[in-house]
Every structure is written in C-alpha cells, then in structure tokens.
C-alpha cells in the first residue's frame, strides 16, 4: 500500500508540473482588462477572430481598471486594456507600460429608474443632472472600485462642483451616495433593486439582462465620452512578459482589420464601440 501511495503522489505532482509547463509553452497571452469590456460582450466577439488569425489564445482577466493596472504592475499580465487615460499615462510614465495606443471609444450613459424621482430625464447637461440628483437627494450608486467608469464618474462629479473623494473622507456625504466597490453589472443590479441612479458604459448597459425598472435618463453629453487604450507591459521590468505575442495582439487591435471588427460588434443592431486608433489627443 505504501508504494501505491507514493506512485499516486508522484503522478499527481507530474500532472501538476506537466500541465503548468504545457501552459508556459502554448501560444497564449494574459490580458488584464475591465469588467465593462467583458460585460459588454466585446471580447467574446472579438478575441476568437484574433485567435483564428494568429493561433494565439487570449486569456482575459477582467477586473476594475485600477486592479487591471495593478496586475500589469505586478507583471501578472502581458497586456493591459482599460479605459482611464490619466491612469494609463501614469502607468507608462512609471515604466510599467511600453506605450499607450488609443483603440476605441464608447460613451457613458446615466441610468435611472423609469419613475425618475430626481426628474433628470432628457437633460442634455450631465453636470446639471448630477447636481439635481445631489440636491434632491436621490439615491446614486457608485462602483467605487477605481475602475475607468469610477474615475469618469468622479471626474463628472467634480465638474458638477462636488469633490466626492474629499467629501467621502470627511464623511460629509449623506446616505444617498452608495459606493459598492464592485463591477458594472453589480452596480446595475444594485441600482435596479434599490431604485437608484448609476453611471454605466453603454456597452454593459445594452448587454445587461436584468434591466428591470431601469432606463437611460441622460445621454449624449460630450463629457460622457469614454476612451479605451491598450498597453504592453514593459518586458524590461517584467522579463516573463510575452512581448512578441502581446505586441501582435496590440498591432492587430489597432490595425484596420481589428478596428473594423470592433466597429462590427453590435447589440440589437446598435454599434457599441467606435474605433479611433489613429486619432490624436485621445
């Protein structure tokens, strides 16, 4: 019985080791991205096209933007694909990323209950809408997770003369503002279940299956523009980064073929993401 046990242990160790070396050698990259890119269904559509063309498998770890950048800083991903320009540029400046490539944009929309307690529906100015919500005050759900959406939300509140982070740390904000620390889907679920307002990216909203009583209340303001960027994690800092495979991915995404694929992704006939890899200043 003892020799049989030893054999089983050795076999298990071999299995563990074998599988791990196999995965080190196969053609794959790890892309740290955001929950909104995943939840919108873009990757499910886009990545098979890339894999078919290049034979490279793409493993997406979907986290908030802040967490995705941290994953890149730790060297646990090869490519980072997020939507927070300021944080991305900081990432490159710190030497964790090689170069930032703009890829595509979509927009944010303000979601709220159909009953619209703050009466903001149809407003064209997002900052006015936010001010009205605060004044009432109506319940507002924030992702609170350092994601790209969260950063955009904080930026818009600042434009509405409300420094959320300052007020939160001074404990001056009332219970109308709820920071849940989770992804877009969870925030939408929470807003729907509690009759609150929430800022969402259009892609996740269109793809979301539990809309319930929620609807878009404000859209179209130019400040709701949401830019996505992609970066290769710096192999100089993290030698294990698969730089050729990662760069192949980036090159494809910004290539005419990749950009067209992005534009072709539609939900119910509506295009979600607008490719703008060649644009400047984004």
């Amino acid at each position: 019985m003892k020799t049989r046990r030893t054999a089983i242990v050795l076999a298990a160790i071999a299995l563990l080791a074998g599988v791990s070396t196999a995965s080190a050698q196969d053609k794959s990259i790890v892309v740290a991205s955001t929950t909104s890119t995943q939840d919108s269904g873009l990757f499910e559509y886009l990545l098979p096209l890339f894999t078919k063309k290049t034979g490279i498998a793409v493993k997406v770890v979907a986290q908030g933007t802040g967490q995705a950048l941290d994953t890149g800083r730790r060297g646990d991903a090869d490519v980072v694909f997020v939507h927070a320009k300021a944080q991305e540029e900081k990432f490159v400046a710190e030497g964790h990323g090689v170069r930032r490539y703009p890829v595509m944009y979509n927009d944010f929309v303000l979601i709220g209950p159909k009953s619209d307690p703050a009466k903001v529906k149809g407003m064209k100015d997002i900052t006015e809408a936010l001010k009205t919500i605060k004044a009432k005050p109506a319940s507002f759900i924030s992702r609170g997770d350092r994601s790209g959406t969260h950063s955009a939300e904080l930026r818009l509140w600042k434009a509405a003369d409300l420094d959320i982070e300052k007020e939160l740390s001074a404990k001056n904000l009332g219970p109308w503002y709820k920071a849940i620390g989770q992804g877009m889907g969870a925030a939408l679920n929470t807003a729907g279940a509690s009759g609150g307002y929430v800022l969402s990216d259009r892609g996740t909203w269109l793809h979301f299956k539990n809309k319930g009583d929620l609807a878009i209340v404000v859209e179209g303001d130019k400040r709701l523009f949401n830019q996505y960027g992609v970066m290769l994690v710096n192999p100089a800092k993290h030698p294990t980064v698969k730089k050729e495979l990662g760069q192949t991915f980036i090159d494809w995404v910004v290539s005419p073929e990749g950009q067209k694929a992005i534009a072709d992704y539609k939900i119910n006939g509506l295009q979600l993401f607008f490719p703008n890899a060649g644009a400047s200043g984004v």
């Binding site: 493993k59 730790r74 060297g75």
Partner: protein, 230 residues
C-alpha cells in the same frame, strides 16, 4: 456560451461550454481533496495518536482552521503566486493549478480535523485491545485508518463539498478566465453581475445537484460502514 438560450436547455442539452465549466469545477475540487487527504490524513492521525506539548492547542487550531475564509486564502495565495511574489517564477497565477493550490489549503484543515476526531474516537475503543494483541505503533495507525475508512471517506466528501461550493478563493487566484479558469461558482458570480440570472440559476441548479449527490454518497458510505463492519 450562447447566453440567450434558456438555462434549462443548456443544462439538459449538455452544452459543451457548460460541460467544460462543470468538468473544470469537479476536476479542481477533486484534485484539491486528493492533495488535502494526502496531507491532512497523516496530520490528523499523528495529532490523534501522539502526545506532545501543545497538543490541545494543535487540536483547537485545526478545528479553527476549518473556518478559514476562502477570500483570505485566495488573497494569500494570490500574493504568493503573483509574478512579483516569492513564488512568481512558477508562473502559476491565473491557472487551474493555482485554484487547486488554494482549495487544497482550504480543505486540508477540514480533513485533518475530522480525521483527528474520527481516529481518536476509534483509538479510545481500540487502544487497550491493540496493546493486548501486541500491535506495533505503525500497524496501529494503519489499522485505525483502515477500520475508520468509512468515516474518513465522509470527511473527504465534506472537504469536496466545501471546495466545490466556494468561489472567493478561486476567483482571485484563477481570474475567472473564460474557457480556462471559469468554474461553476465563478461563472454564477459573473452571470449574476451581467444580469443573466436565468443562466446563473441554471448553473446554480447543477451545482446543487452535485452537492446533493456528494451528500448522498456520504450517506451511503456511512451506511455501508455500519452494515459492513458493525
């Protein structure tokens, strides 16, 4: 996975992506229980049968570790396996192996603590008799483990149930990567957050069925033990 198809259709029609998820869940948890048994059974036996300073504290610790919060284990393993962490060169983060490691850590105390209890109870019964039969120490251990095998199997099944049901550890160390580290529990978490509740519910039903089956097996094992050996 075609998330527009009704959950029931997917489950009954054995949709290949769904089967892959179920397969991964079961494989990861089974491997974890296997390793946990290799480590936990001897620990349980040693603590049950030997007298050493701090033995009472060890028993308390084992019982307490049964309640290790999965997210905490996930975080600890994540920090260990990250490329910036001490074991980063193994390149195991965001892989099924990392999930097996995390679940092994979760399940080992359960098996060790339950084994300790089982073996100690049987030891109290057998001790004088084995001494009268002049059985040597190694043989006493193997005798206890063999005669307690049905109860020990129940401990293993309890460990499997715990592993199959948890999500906190494996979502952190596995990354919930589609087609690679997505299990039933992490898929349920994802589909819920995407608002695709029917699919999440479908997966939940499959998971509950598995848990019920495991518990039925545990019950059968206990009854077999009683019938077989009195």
């Amino acid at each position: 996975m075609p998330s527009d198809a009704s959950a029931l259709q997917l489950v009954l029609g054995a949709d290949p992506a769904l089967m892959a998820i179920v397969g991964l869940s079961v494989t990861v948890s089974l491997l974890a229980v296997g390793f946990a048994a290799l480590i936990g059974l001897p620990i349980g036996a040693v603590v049950a049968l030997t007298r050493f300073p701090g033995r009472e504290a060890a028993i308390v610790a084992l019982n307490a570790l049964m309640g290790l919060p999965p997210v905490v284990v996930g975080l600890a393993v994540f920090l260990l396996l990250s490329r910036s962490g001490p074991l980063g060169s193994w390149g195991l983060l965001f892989t099924p192996q990392a999930m097996v490691i995390a679940q092994t850590i979760l399940v080992t105390p359960i098996i060790a603590a339950l084994a300790r209890q089982t073996i100690e109870d049987l030891w109290v019964e057998y001790r004088d008799e084995l001494a009268a039969l002049n059985v040597g120490p190694f043989r006493r251990v193997t005798t206890l483990i063999w005669d307690a095998r049905f109860s020990l199997l129940t401990a293993l099944l309890a460990g499997f149930g715990r592993a199959a049901a948890e999500v906190g550890a494996i979502i952190i160390v596995g990354g919930n990567i589609e087609g690679f580290t997505r299990t039933m529990t992490t898929a349920i978490a994802l589909e819920t957050s995407k608002g695709d509740l029917p699919l999440a519910i479908g997966l939940g039903i499959v998971l509950i069925v598995i848990v019920i089956v495991v518990n039925a097996l545990a019950w059968i094992a206990r009854r077999a033990g009683e019938r077989f050996a009195g």
